[in-house]
Symmetry: C2
Subunit: 84 residues, 2 copies
């Protein structure tokens, strides 16, 4: 069994209205040092696969076809074997 | 300048309907090995602070007071100095 931790972020240059809203909220709460906030997604996927390589390939395909929007987002992930 | 990478996840035991929906979608796309999907948030915050310790304290306060919902979510973060 493998566990993937996937980080999906907006590509640089893509506007992040949610991040801007949180940034303004933080300023209004007196966190004046905040310069930038970007918000993305963090996904944990547990999957069975024959090998680490096969799991890696599957996670890549999932990201490309469903989890991330390749037009505006990019992703990275790490993968480890887990017991379960 | 410091950059915090914050990972916010639902506490164990809290239902994750978004994760369940993605899990079903992956199954229907023939990713049959998928056992569990949990979806959280990944935030990047750039902030200025006098020291790493001060930045750490600020990020903790932000998470506790705005970024995470302590009732159902938990968070971890890492912090590093960046040039900018």
């Amino acid at each position: 069994m493998y566990k993937a931790e996937i980080y999906i972020t907006l590509k640089e240059g893509v506007l992040d209205p949610q991040g801007s809203a949180v940034e303004k909220a933080l300023h209004s709460m007196n966190f004046r040092g905040v310069q930038e906030v970007r918000i993305g997604k963090f996904m944990q996927v547990v999957l069975s696969a024959d090998s680490l390589e096969a799991a890696n390939q599957q996670v890549k395909e999932m990201c490309d076809s469903l989890l991330a929007n390749p037009v505006i987002e990019e992703y990275t992930f790490n993968l480890q074997e887990v017991e379960k």
